[in-house]
Amino acid sequence: MNETVYVIAFYILAAIVLFSAIGVVVLKNIVHSALLLALTFVGVAGIYVLLNADYLAAVQVMVYAGAIAILIAFGVMLTRRPNMKESNPFNSSAVVGFVVAAGLFGTMAWAILTTTFPLGLTAPTDEISVRGVAKLLLEDYTVSFEAAALLLTVAMAGAIIIAKGAKKA
């Protein structure tokens, strides 16, 4: 019973993720694309919940569905054209893009289906809770954590440099 619920939930979430992702690419109005992108992020967060990664799901909702989607919406608003109808047009390489994407999908599907992955059958450890993530980040992955902090500092300074430009402030 429990198992079936999980399976059904997975397929519903997967469908949400896939169809909204297709919508992001296909829809002609870029505002609709941005909203569907947020929906994709929420769907992925649902899959994280199914994987028992509650904390990751919360981060996914807050950072991606929240912050990033709003950033995209702002970006659209600040750069928009008077008419939003044809704001996300197909480019001339749609056919080539489809062929490449289909080929890549076929290869990946073949590779993943014909490979037996060593599944960890152990019960979820505390590595997926907030406590576990914090422990990993501040003990084993200290270097990555600090390097990421420096990366953000540099990115912020760089964004200011590029955005302010050469004009006299």
Binding site: P118, D140, L150, A157, G158, I161, I162
Partner: protein, 472 residues
Amino acid sequence: MNYSLLSTEMLMAALGIGLLVLTILSPREKGHQGIGYAAVFGMVAILVATSFQYGINETTFREIWIVDDFAVFMKQLFLVSAIFVTLSSLDYVRSLPKYHGEFFVMIIFATLGMMVMASANDLITLFVGMELMTVTFFVLVSFLLGNGRSSEAGIKYLILGATSSAIMLYGMSLLYGLTGTTIIPELVDGLTWSPALAVAVIMILAGFGFKIAAIPFHMWSPDIYEGAPTPITAFLAVASKAAGFAVMIRLFIQGVPVTTGVDWIVIIAGLAAITMIVGNVIAIPQTNIKRMLAYSSIAQAGYLLVGMMAADVAGIKSILFYAMIYVFANIGAFAVAIVVGKHLNSDKISDYAGLGQRQPLLAIVMTVSLLSLAGIPPLAGFVGKLYLFAAIMDQGVLWPAFIGFVMSMISVYYYLNVCLYMWRDDPKDDQPIHVSGAIKLTVVVSMVVTLVLGVYPQPLAEMANIAAKALF
């Protein structure tokens, strides 16, 4: 947890943050050249500090961070190139519209990213270090604010760099799925041949291929090398490429060796062959010195990949040796291009006419650097190529050495073409070109090293050998 293994990175981060604060606090934009001098002295001090790290060979943070001779050698290579790039941009920054101090700070952080890559013993740390380097380069490439070409180069590098990172990350996630670990030496225990492993290896190779600009992943480099500020072009061509090689060597020699069943040497061989051939052939018709050096650096990546094909101590040693002399030869050539480009406001090769009369020092250095890149004895480039091709010939494989030899001969044509302009033609105007002390130091050191290592390569070869042995 042994924090002393992180000492050089901590010093580098402190130097970067400290200079950033100093830049913001000091009001006068003109005084920001001093930040450059401080950066040079700081990095020289850190370079000295790294030389005490040879022979440590320890890991910490549950094997995630490693300081072995290989990592130390690579760090020294990055620091040397960062020091010379900073020295040769001391005058150059005056032509930038704004943010002179930040320019040097960004160079420091890019170098820090490379140092993290060299010491990363796990996929996550490797990736974060690589992103620190790449994101900093996005900013540096578009630093000529208000210049369309530079902004275009920055945007192109951002989009293509993000795509290549995504592809590599997908490959890494497959590796994690197959083994359940991200620590590089532990990967090998869990790997046997499977289609997913093959896909993972191809995707990761594509990501590294982008970083080292191997054909067919080189599309970005000519436009970006041309649009970026010239010192940054030099830094990209030299240090960013070497950093890509550093992580590629560590991951493929220790994490996914050929014994796991995926014969990546075949892929590397294909990449090496087309990179050597196409890179050299496209370099011939170039008329812009930065584009010519871009294609030449693509071709040089092909020679380095030949050392990767050998995949043994001799091969890795030859890569390390060649990467180091490649730094000096390229820095010499680019330093001249920086001065000439700034003075003439042009990067056309034909504008180098008569440089031998206008500024003999620059013309001599350019000639020595280009001949070293072409591999003419008795310069260092010849010894480097000898090591690279000898390593693969020792395994009984002759064709890469043959292609490399023929292509080196072809490359002499476009390298000597520049020399012809410089020495044969008369200058368009006779005014001598002013050369600052920092540039003089850069070009003289790069020329002396190129000459000395050509006749007496033993010390560097010995160091490279020690570094290469750390991996096996």
